[in-house]
Symmetry: C2
Subunit: 184 residues, 2 copies
Amino acid sequence: DYAEGMASNYFHGYLKLTLPSHTGHLGLKERIELYEAKEKVEFAVKRLIILVPNTMFVNSRIESRILTKAGVVPLETIVKNRAGVERPFKNDVYKFTVPINGTTYYVALEGATPMLSFFEAMTYQPSTTWQMKEMKREILLKFYKHLKKLLKEWPPTEDEAELVLYNAYKSNGQPQDVGEVLLS
Amino acid sequence: DYAEGMASNYFHGYLKLTLPSHTGHLGLKERIELYEAKEKVEFAVKRLIILVPNTMFVNSRIESRILTKAGVVPLETIVKNRAGVERPFKNDVYKFTVPINGTTYYVALEGATPMLSFFEAMTYQPSTTWQMKEMKREILLKFYKHLKKLLKEWPPTEDEAELVLYNAYKSNGQPQDVGEVLLS
Ligand SMILES: Nc1nc(=O)c2ncn([C@@H]3O[C@@H]4COP(=O)(O)O[C@H]5[C@@H](O)[C@H](n6cnc7c(N)ncnc76)O[C@@H]5COP(=O)(O)O[C@@H]3[C@@H]4O)c2[nH]1
């Protein structure tokens, strides 16, 4: 199945490879704890937050009234030998611009890249049928459910990522603010 | 179709993004030419060589009697804003350990990662049916053909990559040497 295959490639080619600790690098939780100690900050949650908007499209730069990357150091890049390349994997960190109960919270955040690549593929192909577009919602939900299952059933990844499924637009047609989605 | 979808994600999420020149970075050909001028070496071909073995499996480190990465500088890393992350993309360079007509040739080389992730997914799942395994060859060929088509039909990528489809084992059961595959 196509949607489950995308979830599976994302799990095997990226999340399972980089989130848990392996010989050669620390797991995500530990990298966040090191970051907190070094930068003297606090993360809202010690997991990778993966945005899964219903439009499948995440901007190249995440824009929000209450989140910023300006002046925020990324997580330490890890390098894995993958198919002949010493491949770098990097996660960026954002911080809330509004304190919550007096604390400025930080978060490791990114969009679900397979969905973005799929969106681009569908938009690029003139022959994308209306059926494919109809199936977009079904593909999104299958991807989300299968990915959730894979992460949960592999103990080393179980607590390392959090998928956030949301509507990219509010009912009034205005774009949803990612920061507000995270706070809700 | 799943195989074509993987080729399409590979094209949109990686090759189309990184091979041609874009605002912010040079195309692969130009990066190779800069490298040649700086390191005073010659590349066998000014393209990214993408290995597509019939086993779908490429070792984390490519092993060959006649190719080495030891002491070889990689291509310059490029950074692209992708779904909220300033993501690094890096290509490694190998050189032939035997001169050819008196020249030591260099080559930008890597395995087709979507095939590797797919292979891992199939091996991980206890429920992978024998039908899936039967389909492996079909999936491989469909992936290869569709990727070739996508690269060719987008002029900025047309001459930037070369797919090398080959048998991972010789007819006598011995593993095929990647370096020898490239020379043949
Ligand atoms: N956010 C994010 N950061 C990453 O570093 C990363 N690396 C992979 N992925 C996603 O995981 C999945 C499995 O990866 P795989 O390597 O099999 O396919 C990848 C891989 O074959 C190729 N590719 C992408 N980035 C690179 C890269 N830096 N070097 C080589 N190949 C790459 O193009 C495919 C599609 O990439 P994305 O569409 O960005 O999403 C991938 C994919 O959905 C990532 N997602």
